[in-house]
Amino acid sequence: MKKGKFKNFRKEILHNKGAFFSLVFLILIIFTSILIGFYDGDPDAINISNMLAKPSAQHWFGTDELGRDYLIRIIYGGRVSLTVGVLAMLTSIIIGTTAGISAGYFGGNIDSFIMRLSDIFSAVPWIIMVTVVSLLIKKGIFSIVLVIGMFSWMEIARLVRAETLTLKQRDYIQYADFIGTSPWEIMRSHIVPSVLPTIITAATTAVADAIMTESAMSFLGIGVQAPMASWGSLLQNAQANLDNAFHMAVIPGVLIILTICSFNNLGNVFRAVAEPGSRAGESNG
């Protein structure tokens, strides 16, 4: 079953040009982010004599307002954006899966409590919530991850809960319950593996959303703090120099778009493989 799905995935990736390029692009970005760790120059090295330079052979992406090489800044920024994206995704997946499975499996009061909680969390627009909570906790990567994770688990919880509800009616789970397997064991060894495809699909979308949220936060100045940079905070700097260094605004934005598009494309492929019925109507453009 697992193998079959993997084979389907490979087939889908090879046949779908958009998805293939998305995968290649993401691998490229991730490898660059890792390999930049071996770069021994200082990404924050300031060179006042060469400020806001246009892209050239020496500085492929030009330099920023303090004469720092923009390519290096962007790679480091991408590293931060991706890290925040993945960690925030993990946070929201963990919260969402736990909440969804508990709500669906135990039902009753636990279910209504969790679902009401998720209603309240979804009630206030994300940008308001995120800004308010960022006031309350110390600024830093960890709190950004936490804030994004805390306010993006509701959709995952809803999906997982729905699936758990139907799984609970299946014979093998009812039997496991009947022979006295503990609820924890049932959830761990039966329910989690069955909802895994849903979780993986949701995870790719969650990374995309988290990167988007992080960039918006950093752009507004409540996310990543200087001297650390992410694609969002690079754009914040770019705004001040929009007139004389247009390249500074274009490049991080294009990278954000490509990254988010790629994650969404992969998500569509996962969805198509996990639930073949949904493929109709999806063209994965």
Partner: protein
């Protein structure tokens, strides 16, 4: 149906209370002392303590919450920490500005998305559909603030067609042409920001409507595709869109925070972001309550609207 609506309204009221409670709690635990707003550096410790006592800041949490809620209901929304202005007065001038920007943008996006979504969905997998779908997939990945920067650069800096910020030129407050001149860029950016998600929504519901039995029957009776689309499918696609309208209600206040901030549009968004930056807690708290309440009212409105337009709901509920 009336019973359903009343039931919905009754469940919304406690939720509003929960929201106000959470807002108050969040600001209560915030690392800020409300007395800072009332003291000057010259005051002695005793004076500060007396002020604190007088303002009721030493009362237990629930007493403070009760007083605050009471004030809120009586229109006493407090004063800004940094400028000392009345928050209620501030919002009174700023909310209309935001509405002027968000309402036209949302309606434009709403109608465009219905047209584009129906075109795409009814021509599934043909070229026009592929183009619309691809553009909206990319559109979803475009951060609004980036789009705003690009628009600003091209039309503001390069072609100098539109002013870069603000809503009016000082001295021309009454001029409608001047307003429109400032309005174009944020309006376009916001419309494009709203559009992709709505298009995808309409497209996918159009596709699933075309799979319904009634379409097959219409086809077998020889109706043309255009006729099926206009007379039947479009109606069913538009039904759930009504709920989208209801849920968009809170956007009238908080729908354009990013766009407003970039274009320095004097609406709620810039006001809110400034409050966040200067740690102006009373403003943050009021906007938090306002947007939470609007979300609940918006959901309520969505449910009631849906109930009015779709008879099936009335029977099942």
């Amino acid at each position: 149906m009336l019973k359903y609506i009343i039931k919905r309204i009754l469940t919304a009221i406690p939720l509003i209370f929960v929201i106000t409670f959470i807002c108050f709690f969040l600001i209560y635990i915030a690392p800020y002392d409300a007395v800072d707003a009332m003291v000057s550096p010259k005051m002695t410790k005793q004076e500060i303590e007396a002020k604190k006592e007088q303002a009721g800041l030493n009362d237990p949490f629930y007493v403070q919450y009760g007083k605050w809620l009471n004030n809120l209901c009586h229109g006493e929304w407090g004063y800004s920490l940094t400028s000392g202005t009345n928050i209620r007065q501030d919002l009174k001038t700023r909310i209309p500005n935001t509405i002027k920007l968000v309402l036209p943008s949302y309606f434009t996006a709403f109608f465009l998305s219905i047209i584009l979504g129906l075109i795409a969905g009814s021509n599934q997998n043909r070229r026009i559909d592929r183009i619309i779908d691809a553009v909206s997939s990319v559109g979803i990945a475009v951060p609004t603030f980036w789009l705003a920067l690009m628009t600003m650069y091209v039309f503001g800096y390069r072609f100098k067609m539109f002013p870069l910020m603000g809503m009016q030129t000082i001295g021309k407050e009454k001029s409608f042409i001047d307003f429109m001149h400032h309005f174009v860029m944020p309006y376009v950016v916001l419309t494009i920001g709203f559009l992709p998600e709505l298009v995808r929504y309409v497209r996918s519901s159009t596709i699933s409507e075309f799979k319904e039995d009634y379409v097959l029957i219409q086809k077998s009776f020889g109706s043309s595709k255009a006729k099926i689309l206009l007379n039947h499918v479009s109606k069913n696609v538009m039904l759930p869109m009504v709920t989208k309208l209801g849920m968009a209600l809170p956007m009238l206040v908080t729908g354009a925070i990013i766009t407003e901030t970039i274009f320095a549009w004097p609406g709620v968004g810039t006001y809110y972001m400034k409050a966040i930056r200067t740690l102006d807690y009373p403003i943050v708290m009021n906007i938090l309550v306002l947007s939470g309440t609007l979300v609940i009212l918006g959901n309520l409105l969505a449910d009631v609207l849906y109930c009015l337009v779709d008879p099936r709901i009335r029977i099942t509920e």
